[in-house]
């Protein structure tokens, strides 16, 4: 079966990560996958929330936003509405949780890393693209902040993809918007560099799903994440690859 855009069921859309996309933040990338485009920027502040002061331990949080013009129908601006939607908050929490899982908060020291994920164009998979792009922005930012002779606070690679069961019942990798909005089952899979899971979130939108369907989806997620992490390693280059997970 061919998909909407001609891809095979287990095929990622073309993707690209442009490093140092912005001038000011410590780390920033443009993450593109298909028509989805997200600017991910990492800012490092030399302070932590009040409840953590004096602990020697850092923190990381993420913020996510859609440009109003990023979606097929214009999305109302959250700053004009005066609050963030539940969807936004759910996504911010996912990104933050995922990145913290590979961050050594003690090696980070009393610093706060803020990951800003701003979606310029949304064609499905913006939350997983945000996780993947943020990871690269985080590594770039910390590389500029953490001296070479110190333990690098990033312990492992991570990336994320969406998988799902299409409305024709087929398990597919990396759903675009049309596929996502009609999918029967929708799942996000965040994984580490050596193939373990950080986060698995699957929802039966149209009907419940069986154990073996779940297994098929996880296998698709593994395949997609392998490709992304391989790309990220190349993109970061051997020196940064070597810093990740090294302890001093």
């Amino acid at each position: 079966m061919q998909r909407f855009d001609g891809r095979a069921a287990d095929e990622l859309r073309p993707f690209k990560i442009t490093k140092y996309f912005q001038k000011y933040p410590a780390g920033s990338v443009l993450m593109e996958i298909g028509n989805t485009k997200v600017i991910c920027a990492a800012t490092v502040e030399d302070r932590v929330p009040v409840f953590q002061r004096g602990t020697g331990v850092g923190w990381l949080r993420a913020e996510y936003s859609l440009l109003p013009s990023a979606t097929a129908t214009r999305t109302a601006r959250e700053s004009a509405r005066g609050k963030q939607t539940g969807r936004t908050q759910e996504i911010q929490r996912l990104i933050g949780r995922s990145l913290r899982s590979v961050l050594d908060l003690e090696a980070l020291g009393e610093r706060t890393v803020i990951l800003d994920c701003d979606v310029i164009q949304a064609d499905g998979g913006t939350r997983t693209a945000s996780v993947t792009g943020s990871f690269v922005a985080l590594v770039l930012a910390l590389d500029s902040v953490i001296p070479k002779d110190k333990t690098f606070p990033v312990k492992d690679f991570i990336s994320a993809v969406s998988v799902g069961i299409s409305n024709s019942g087929e398990p597919i990798l990396d759903l675009c918007y049309e596929e996502d909005s009609s999918a029967i089952v929708d799942m996000n899979v965040v994984m580490t560099g050596n193939g373990e899971f950080i986060e698995v979130q699957g929802t039966g939108e149209g009907r419940p799903f069986k154990r073996d369907e779940l297994n098929t989806l996880l296998a698709l997620g593994e395949k997609g994440n392998n490709e992304l992490i391989s790309y990220i390693k190349d993109s970061l280059g051997s020196e940064l690859d070597w810093r990740i997970g090294s302890v001093k």
Copy 2:
């Protein structure tokens, strides 16, 4: 290995669902599991959001709140802060999504069901207790609203449990607060009456998890949900059991 409170690894805490707990709502229960206590109430309104008017189709949404006094350390009241936290919004979305997955919105007609989940005491697992209790409140409410000769809009049973990997590395079922706050992996599993998945949400809080650990956790989730659904069927009685999933 024995757990904190003497349970076996695959053992639920004692639980009880008290039906018709409140006087006014169409359906309401007190859901208790261990020291966790949640009032779940279902209100049925004869109108739908603006964007659905005239479609003949209904809607369901959930609201979740902790009493400030429900937690070990007092939780600030969200109405006083002026907004709901990201955690609250994430949980509300999970409850709503889970219940909508077994709700026939066309058979419901142009009505809105609101599920209010108010946690009186929180000792772990409040979101899964809310899903389970809300399901029963929903059935009671719709039973009082939908005539006997019409298709009953609830298509299947659902229940939810938490599972996780304890800080000593053991997979366990139904985490209490102490277990939850130190767990390495944390997962919520929402399932239907015939053992299929509605929602699987697993997070590696302390470290990533492997495929076979995920399998073990899912098996624990199945065991727990089987027990809950069996209890719910008894509790609702054969007449209501018979209405669920029947089509006229």
Copy 3:
């Protein structure tokens, strides 16, 4: 004349105070009077608002909320609306003011007591039930915090009842919802253990009221409060009764 629910004009509804209703707060009760049910919990924090730091003096404030499912027609959740209604704020101020009037803020020291009044079911008189229940929760909480050899910061007993003039012109004690919503005059009376007034709030909703009607209502209020305070004294027991008002 017999009332809606068969009571005499000067008769309270059946009432009960269940102490230590919740596991976590320093003091908590379930206050029931007729179908009205309020959870009152007292939390003691070892800090005071900024403007009071270093003064050696404490503070007490109250928060009040209706569960959405507590009322005949569902009440919109204030955290979802983003703010508290004027009614909520008015009630919170009444509860706080009433309890502070018998609290020795110097004996309390630099602590803040927060009284959370969460109405589980509302059938009239929720604000007076909140004052009465909060008083007991406050005493339980301070008994657990203030050493036996220190001045106990509660100087006197208080309780509160509603009184009013029914739509048939009769002065009545402890109005249920049906009576309250049609009353011509509505009054709340907060009193101390020796029969003095803390707060008197009377409003002519349907028509103005005369001086002798006011006197009749105050007499009903005295009768109701006498019964409540007598019950509270029994409920707290002689040891706690003895602490209240004692100075070291």
Copy 4:
């Protein structure tokens, strides 16, 4: 005993009501009593809240605000804080309730009257000055809107004063700021033209108060309100005096 500003215990401060103080509203006055100055304006809108449409019945509500510069220490602007304080809401509710008690909502028809009370200078008694001033603004506004051959919707006169027990234990009428902030008992009394009560709100701030103290305070309130209503009748003139309470 002489008071802070030389008045007798039962003496009002000098007061004055300037009618038609503003150019645009249907009715407006400047209410001055001592150094307290409140602009009260009544706007009449030809529509009612959604839930009242088609009922033929009108509504009245009040809004109250302090200019930041009205108080001894600058008061933060509520629009900058993003919400109204509990004190503001409590006062708005008191003003609205008091005026509605003498308003015939059916004779008003499907109109909304909004009373804006903006305190230019606050030296005690701003809420009672707001009630009194609003009453006059209301009468002026309705006189310009309701034809002479129709029932005038204002059924009776009202006015309001504060009374209290000073820190030296003496019952006094019309407290200025210094007296109010140190008073042991504080009470607001809203009365009609023929000496009946609309609202009585008394609070023991420093200690509880006895029945006979309450009686003394009510007598002071009656004296003060008699003087205010006599002034209002003169100020409105015989034609408007005659319209109030007349039925066609």
Copy 5:
């Protein structure tokens, strides 16, 4: 051509500044120009925003508000809406920026001056009246705070007027509401005591404007500001006039 109210094209409406209008603020005036009336009050606080502490430098900001009853059609109260409109914020920024331009923040020291501009009646030109009135309130406030032997932090006089091109194409000075709402071009001109510009804001509302029209408008603005500053100098008197701009 004669204007709406009989004025010549280059004629200000009658204006008056009443000093010390309120009892409490360090400086306050009632600024009247035509039917426009604004209370301007200056409060001086002995602290600065967090980011300025320890710098020895002060700050000034302005707040602006319309009484709901100030306008031809009642304006909704911003504190009830929960936020300030864009118009309000734009005006506050203009007032603050204008006054800061003649304020020596180092001579002020670590103090914050807050200018409250509350419009009692709005008949056009409220923002320029606010600038002019605030200037006088500022001088009065600082005169009471800054010792005679210290550098006075106000470096120069300022005043502001509106100018515009009427719907009949004529350049006019000091637009009233009717003129303002139909003007083709609208401009605000803030100037110093020796005829230089602090702020020029011109907008082509109905059509673009040419360079020579701009010149004509600026000339009108100069004429109006000359008259206002001459009045202010008289009003402040020679002693204060002498303090402004003097350096110790």
Copy 6:
């Protein structure tokens, strides 16, 4: 004198407008000038605000936002703060006012155009870049919506530049961030295709400015706007150039 970045005093930074930058909005561009980059997108909705329904007349409004990562120091996200800053509102109003001045709201019909200006990178002049970029996005959007045989609602070209007096006293065109933050006088000039003014906003930040300085700044603004409009005409091409200002 040479500037910070080597430009002449009357020289614009390199600029570029990339049309059709996003996939979904009716019109969108990336506006770049120096390091300042703004995405401007125009959405056309087939409805108008409530107060305009049935009038046959349309509306246009603008929204402006900085990505948190766009600035040298990270800017807090307005949706997380819960409100837009005064600066944001001021800029939104400027953009909307400028574009409405060349929009024929009757020819637009009952439609609303929303201009979203999202700043990706901020190096001075973001508000003028937003006006210029929005104009092009507006033309592209309306070209896709308005049939060729109807009056095109855009009546004229507009563009905007910043000008100012540098801290060394020299009048300069198109200030970058370093120049802007230290400028003595700051001015924004919005002009039409035939050299008339839409908006002139000049502020003496460091000192007042004289009439002849204002003239010099306006001349610089004319030069810069001429170059921008010439570029825009080329960029839009002759067909669109021809539509602007044409009446059917």
